[in-house]
């Protein structure tokens, strides 16, 4: 399965990916409208980290052995049977934060603005293009096959 990866050597922390993510998951999907009208209710699905010059944007790794799925007490966090992605059903989520406790990448976020639910990267489920990858001006976010899968293929 192809996933989104960061290349920290090219991430300049411009946060355009975050903006694109917010817009892609907004109601209007229009940048100015989303920011001006929906702003407090927007939660990005990725995390931008910075420590000195080092930076990267990280989002759900859609782990094969996903600890968040194991930890979810409601079944909201599940593996999508079609895409094999780790999906989150906000309707089922009760906001117990077990997933936040278990995600080793820290990429599941709290959305406490409307209803208390967890939120995470959904690989832009309703769109064909990945908003963050598309927005990155420096190809620091790419959509690629993982090294893990490649190792497996070799075996």
């Amino acid at each position: 399965m192809k996933k989104i990866y960061f290349r920290e050597e090219y991430c300049m922390a411009c946060r355009l990916c975050e903006i694109a993510c917010l817009v892609a998951h907004s109601k209007s999907k229009k940048i100015i409208k989303a920011y001006k009208e929906e702003f407090p209710n927007l939660t990005p699905r990725l995390v931008i980290e910075q420590n000195g010059p080092l930076s990267f944007a990280i989002q759900c790794r859609h782990c094969e052995d996903a600890p968040c799925i194991a930890a979810c007490v409601t079944g909201a966090m599940h593996r999508d049977r079609k895409t094999n992605a780790v999906s989150h059903n906000a309707e089922k989520c009760v906001g117990c934060w077990m997933c936040i406790m278990s995600c080793p990448f820290g990429v599941i976020l709290r959305d406490i603005k409307e209803k208390k639910v967890a939120t995470k990267c959904d690989l832009c489920s309703d769109e064909k293009i990945l908003a963050c990858v598309n927005a990155c001006p420096n190809e620091a976010l790419i959509c690629a096959e993982s090294i893990k899968n490649k190792d497996k293929k070799k075996e």
Binding site: M12, R15, I19, Y35, G52, E139, A140
Partner: protein, 513 residues
């Protein structure tokens, strides 16, 4: 001291469009955009804007527009705004004015006054999409004559027809298109830019030039597309350096600052640069104005032959000089000193840092330099002994074609390559705060240039220019760049003085053969 100068640019922020996302704040290394922590609003300080347009390019909503500062001083043809600003600045700092890139002074660009010919009726034009076009060029010394022998011991007719070359050819650089990347040193530009240049050179079958900053270990793998430089500072020169090069260039001078040395401030000498240049990290890297061992053509010859010895006569040796008044005689001396290639850099050549007065006032335009050098070498019968690479402000493929038609073998492009990678010619290279991640060693800024993307852009540029050159040649009815070289009959001057026409050795437009 209160500054009397006024800003160069204004930044207009369309508040209807601005979403306060702070992308501009994060992108501006000059702090023209800042966030007021109390109001949480983005603020703009136009005094700090250098006009690099990074913010406007990155703004996701297109809310920013950078334009010229419109407040005008009283119009005066002698004392214009630029002059006044420079005076204020010097009165406030007491220093030499520094700048970057090539001169922006309004000199006549002779390229724009030279017109190319095309084939009509009397000779046919060629469609480059249907017929082969040869742009391949060999740079290096060519023998005055070539001796063949035929192997008569083998009586097979097939072999008899194949002559065997008796003359030993001097080393040549094979280029697939007559464009090379100019010398830009690691230190002036970031390693990522060097990587991009090297990758693109490899892909395009051309060469890039390390400049005087040595060769980083990561770039050794591109050795067959590398020209290394030996300059007055001798930075990073060692046997491996020569081993890792296809050719060696002795840098005497550059078009942006003839007669002036280089100065890379200590804060830019990072650990990596210190290792590459072989100098202590954090110390200023000073390139003296002259080579302290070269005071004559004979001295130059010694260095040329030392390098030939060091490279076992397998690699062409180039000598790069700035185009100055006596360029024809100087070039002749260089050729006679044994150089395989003479690189000449005109007044519009770029730089990472130069005193403004030098950049804007010293040297001559490359157009005239090419013509006078080519003519002189022909007159002296030594044109075949060296190839000429012209440099200094080649803006497009038209300029390249005209340079070759005037007599150059190939051109070096520096500024055009940087622009392809993102440079917006803000001329602030010397600050080390290049917002485009090009002329900087700042770890925050270096990351902004992804060498893969930059290399793709460079490759596209070289491909595009090559296509255009073929197109132009086809129109002229010429199918090989060899037939174009020095073919000044196919040029006409327009709106040029008689003296310029004389030096260019071209006829005025309208005059038939």
């Amino acid at each position: 001291m209160k500054t009397l100068t006024f800003p160069d640019f204004v930044i207009n922020r369309d508040n209807e469009k601005c979403i306060q996302c702070e992308v501009c704040v994060r992108q501006c290394a000059f702090d023209a955009h800042t966030l007021d922590k109390e109001t949480n609003k983005v603020e703009t300080d136009i005094k700090k804007c250098v006009g690099c347009l990074r913010c406007a390019t990155m703004c996701p909503t297109g809310a920013l527009c950078v334009s010229e500062y419109s407040q005008k001083i009283r119009k005066n043809c002698n004392w214009n705004e630029k002059q006044l600003k420079e005076l204020y600045k010097q009165a406030e700092t007491g220093g030499v004015l520094l700048t970057g890139m090539g001169t922006d002074k309004d000199y006549k660009i002779i390229w724009d006054h030279i017109l190319l010919d095309a084939a009509q009726v009397t000779n046919p034009s060629i469609d480059p999409l249907r017929e082969p076009m040869e742009l391949r060029t060999y740079l290096g010394s060519k023998p005055s004559k070539i001796d063949f022998r035929f192997d008569i011991s083998d009586l097979k007719l097939k072999n008899l027809q194949k002559g065997i070359l008796k003359t030993k050819l001097p080393p040549q650089l094979k280029i697939e298109t007559p464009i090379l990347f100019s010398a830009m040193s690691y230190g002036a530009i970031s390693l990522n830019v060097c990587r991009a240049l090297a990758q693109a050179a490899e892909e395009c079958g051309i060469y890039y030039n390390t400049g005087e900053g040595g060769l980083h270990k990561d770039l050794y793998k591109y050795s067959k597309n590398t020209i290394v430089q030996v300059a007055s500072g001798r930075f990073g020169v060692n046997p491996d350096y020569f081993e890792a090069a296809a050719a060696v260039e002795i840098k005497i001078g550059q078009g942006a600052k003839p007669g002036i040395g280089g100065h890379l401030p200590g804060e830019k000498v990072t650990e990596e640069i210190s290792q590459t240049r072989m100098i202590p990290s954090g110390t200023d890297a000073l390139s003296p104005a002259p080579h302290h061992d070269i005071y004559s053509i004979e001295d130059l010859s010694q260095l040329i032959y030392s390098l030939k010895e060091a490279t076992e006569y397998k690699k062409p040796i180039s000598v790069k000089v700035a185009a100055v008044h006596n360029i024809a005689a100087i070039a002749s001396g260089i050729v006679r000193a044994g150089a395989d290639i003479v690189a000449i850099d005109g007044i519009r050549g770029g730089t990472g840092a130069a005193p403004t007065r030098i950049r804007d006032n010293v040297g001559i335009p490359i157009e005239l330099a090419i013509a006078s050098v080519d003519s002189r070498l022909r007159e002296e019968g030594i044109r075949n002994r060296a190839s000429i690479i012209a440099a200094g402000g080649f803006r497009n493929s038209g300029d390249v074609v005209k340079a070759i038609t005037l007599g150059a073998d190939a051109v070096y492009i520096g500024t055009a390559a940087l622009v392809a990678m993102g440079c917006h010619l803000c001329q602030k290279c010397y600050t080390g705060k290049c917002n485009w991640g090009i002329a900087t060693q700042d770890p925050y800024l270096v990351k902004r240039l992804n060498p893969d993307i930059a290399a793709r852009r460079l490759i596209n540029l070289i491909k595009a220019w090559s296509h255009e050159i073929k197109e132009i040649m086809g129109g002229m009815g010429i199918n090989a760049i060899e037939s174009l070289r020095g073919n000044r009959l196919r040029l006409r001057g327009f709106d040029l003085h008689d003296n310029e026409l004389k030096i260019l050795d071209i006829k005025p437009a309208g005059e038939s053969l």
